[in-house]
Amino acid sequence: MEIPYIVETRADTGLNNVKLGIWLFLASEVMLFGALFSTYIILRVGAPEWPRGELSVIFGAANTIILISSSVTMVMAWASLKMHAWGKHRFYLLVTVGLALFFLVNKFFEYAEHVGKHEIPSYNTFFAIYYTLTGLHGLHIVGGIVVMLYFLGPGAKLAKKNPDQFTNRIEATGLYWHFVDLVWIFLFPVLYLL
């Protein structure tokens, strides 16, 4: 027997395995970041004073735009596959990786500036939670880049053997990528603006 519903959807659940799997994974991610945001709220409410305006809004806003654009190109990469435009798919996926790297470079300069001013995690609670939240988010970005590079490289072979399965995988990657984007959309106002 072979494992069923890898590509086709199961009639009574309306899902294939990958789609259910990625949504379950994202549910656990919501709990992970939910716990960290709760930590932020509890520490901030309990603090005698909370520093404001420590971070560069320009950098943060730029990174927000970069990530939202990368979500758009991610959708294009998937949609191109659906329309059987292989070249476009690879172009958009590559652009997504590029934008993700651009985000990380920005983040690196931001970190470097604060570390230069000796604003490191042990400096105060604000910077502790700032580095933890953005660091963990950054690791998720790195994870996304690795997965996308895999689908640009060795993972692309599947597209010839089983194009539908490959499209499903790109769709799952996209769902993950939108989630990472969404986390940043919460992080930006919470850390930079409020």
């Binding site: 027997m1 072979e2 494992i3 069923p4 519903y5 199961r10 659940t13 899902l15 294939n16 395995n17 259910l20 799997g21 379950l24 994974f25 549910a27 656990s28 991610e29 709990m31 992970l32 970041f33 939910g34 716990a35 960290l36 930590t39 509890i42 520490l43 309990g46 603090a47 005698p48 490191i120 995690p121 042990s122 400096y123 105060n124 609670t125 502790a128 939670i129 580095y131 933890t132 963990l136």
Partner: protein
């Protein structure tokens, strides 16, 4: 050739060609396997080894409590100068043993055996699936768990030893005590493994049920595994977050859990402060209370299968069991702070959490009552798996009912942090869950190996363990009610009010060492039966669920024909039927 076709019952079961049986090499077949049955056995075996190791740590601690300050016999000389000079245990080492006993038993022993082992091996077979939905992910789960285990074991060796702040790792102590960093790294491995596993379990159960296997035809074991997987999926990430924060506190010098003005050994701590130690406790128990149900639900599942099979009757109130276990799963997310009545979090919080705690006891009692009523009027087969399942019922009842006074804030003031608590949760997990797990090993051993375990050794193992384990945990209630605190390096001798209670430390000690010896028949039986056990066919227990339609042991892909399900899971002694069991897989 096989049961299904000889009974002429599978109407449209056309035999699939098993041409794709290319032989895998040793490494791919037994070590880095992606077959759920091999991974299940790997999990189970590793889990059993960790149970033995974790229990050994406790047997060493029990020496110190029974005979404080006397050299440990046999192994004392081997423990080394920074653990036990001249064989006499140091307090730091005692604390390491305590913290690691808890961690190993829960995260490396019981859960991997109950979920990783039984869940992986039995669940896909019971739902008629060829494998888990994501076989490679399944292999990764096991190996990440293995790495976590190695990290935990290795943490004993660096200078300063293993974690010594209890399995609960409360800060500020956990942030300043040695050994904790490796504990946190190990936990992050274990949590990751659980997450990958739970995604796989839920997807498999939702997607890969065989034709005809509707939700209310699922064996109760599968329901228990499904709810367990949801608990692992949603409760573990907050602990991962908490683990990352504590790691930051230790490694990067942050103060998430460190309050301002902390003075340690007369020196003020040079930290930024403003942290919140209670925050850790909330995040920790947000996982660790659902974790209690992760420990108990698979046990419910296992004994339900064994009881239905050996009473030769349908389970009493199958749907009630299902609804109860789902409700238990929901409720388990909103009871966590009953572990924190004594922290000064306030009476409003306490009132809320003691109410939810009383509510969650209702479905637990319903499950227990249904299983008890299932015995009514049955002609019971008293084989080793059934004895363990039967023993589970009163043992879990004692464990559960002694929990009620702890769940009420007023009585908890007296009982918290005493041996009463230790007695309570060990009755749930040790003679409760671990007995169920032993029952499961005896019950599914024939399916996994094609051989039956020896019954005589099984009886010795059961009765000896049953007597000893009660002698270990029953006196703890007496000690706890008398006010003896837990985590006492000298077994409580330093306090005058414990004077009359110390004799029980000797009783518990000897019972614990006896319990250790009585696991030898099990070990002999386990390995001996692999070689000399009686060979069995597909369905030695005359059971009704799908795993018994596959060969023993099942080959790659599990079933010879696509399984089709015709009826509910526990149709035993159906009036008018030719035999006293009507399997799900026969029309």
């Amino acid at each position: 050739m096989d049961n299904v076709t000889t009974h002429g019952s599978v109407a449209h079961g056309h035999a699939h060609e098993h041409a794709h049986h290319e032989e895998l090499g040793f490494w791919r077949k037994y070590v880095f396997s992606i077959d759920h049955k091999v991974i299940g056995i790997q999990y189970a075996f590793t889990g059993l080894l960790f149970l033995l190791f974790g229990f050994t740590l406790m047997m060493i601690m029990r020496w110190q409590m029974a005979y404080p300050g006397r050299p440990i016999p046999l192994i004392g000389a081997w423990l080394g100068q920074d653990r036990a000079p001249m064989g006499i245990m140091l307090p730091e080492f005692y604390n390491q043993l305590g913290a690691m006993h808890g961690t190993i038993m829960v995260f490396l022993g019981v859960v991997p055996l109950a979920v990783g082992g039984f869940g992986n091996f039995v669940m896909p077979l019971q739902i008629g699936a060829p494998d888990m939905a994501f076989p490679k992910l399944n292999m990764v789960s096991y190996w990440v768990y293995f790495l976590g285990g190695v990290t935990m074991l290795a943490s004993f060796f660096p200078h300063g030893g293993a974690a010594q702040s209890g399995w609960t790792s409360y800060p500020p102590l956990a942030v300043i005590a040695p050994g904790q960093t490796m504990w946190l790294v190990g936990m992050i491995f274990l949590i990751t493994s659980s997450l990958l596993g739970s995604v796989n379990f839920i997807t498999t159960i939702v997607q890969l049920r065989a034709k005809g296997l509707s939700w209310m035809r699922l064996p109760f074991f599968v329901w228990a595994q499904l709810v367990t997987a949801f608990l692992l999926l949603l409760a573990f990430p907050p602990l991962e977050a908490a683990g990352v924060l504590q790691l930051m506190d230790r490694v990067a010098g942050t103060s998430f859990f460190m309050p301002s003005g902390l003075v340690i050994s007369g020196k003020p701590m040079l930290i930024s402060g403003n942290g919140n130690p209670l925050l850790w406790q909330h995040l920790f128990w947000f996982l660790a209370h659902p974790e209690v149900y992760v420990l108990i639900l698979p046990a419910f599942g296992i004994i339900s299968e064994i009881i239905a099979n050996n009473t030769r009757k349908p389970l009493w109130g199958y749907k009630t069991l299902v609804y109860s276990v789902v409700f238990l799963g929901f409720m388990s997310f909103i009871v966590w702070a009953h572990h924190m009545f004594m922290t000064g979090m306030g009476t409003t919080m306490s009132a809320f959490f003691q109410t939810t705690t009383m509510i969650i006891s209702i479905p637990s009692v319903i499950v227990l009552t249904s299983l008890l009523l299932s015995l009514w009027g049955a002609s019971i087969r008293f084989n080793p798996p059934m004895l363990f399942a039967l023993a589970f019922l009163p043992m879990f009842a004692i464990g559960g009912l002694t929990g009620l006074p702890l769940g009420l804030a007023p009585s908890d003031i007296h009982l918290h942090d005493t041996y009463y608590v230790i007695g309570h949760f060990h009755y749930v997990v040790a003679p409760g869950t671990i007995f169920a797990l032993f029952g499961g090993v005896y019950y599914w051993f024939p399916k996994a190996t094609g051989k039956k375990m020896n019954e005589m050794l099984g009886y010795v193992h059961f009765w000896g363990s049953f007597i000893c384990i009660n002698l270990v945990f029953m006196p703890m209630f007496i000690q706890g009610l008398g006010g003896m605190n837990r985590r006492m390096y000298d077994g409580g001798a330093q306090y005058a009010h414990n004077a009359g209670l110390l004799k029980w430390n000797l009783v518990i000690g000897f019972a614990a060492w006896g319990l250790g010896l009585l696991q030898i028949p099990f070990i002999i039986n386990f390995f001996g039966s692999l070689k000399w056990g009686k060979a069995v066919d597909k369905n030695p227990w005359e059971a009704t669920t799908l795993e018994w339609s596959a060969p023993s042991p099942p080959g790659h892909g599990n079933f010879l024909t696509d399984p089709v399900v015709y009826r509910g899971p526990y149709e035993y002694s159906v009036p008018g039927a030719a035999r006293d069991f009507s399997p799900q897989f026969e029309a």
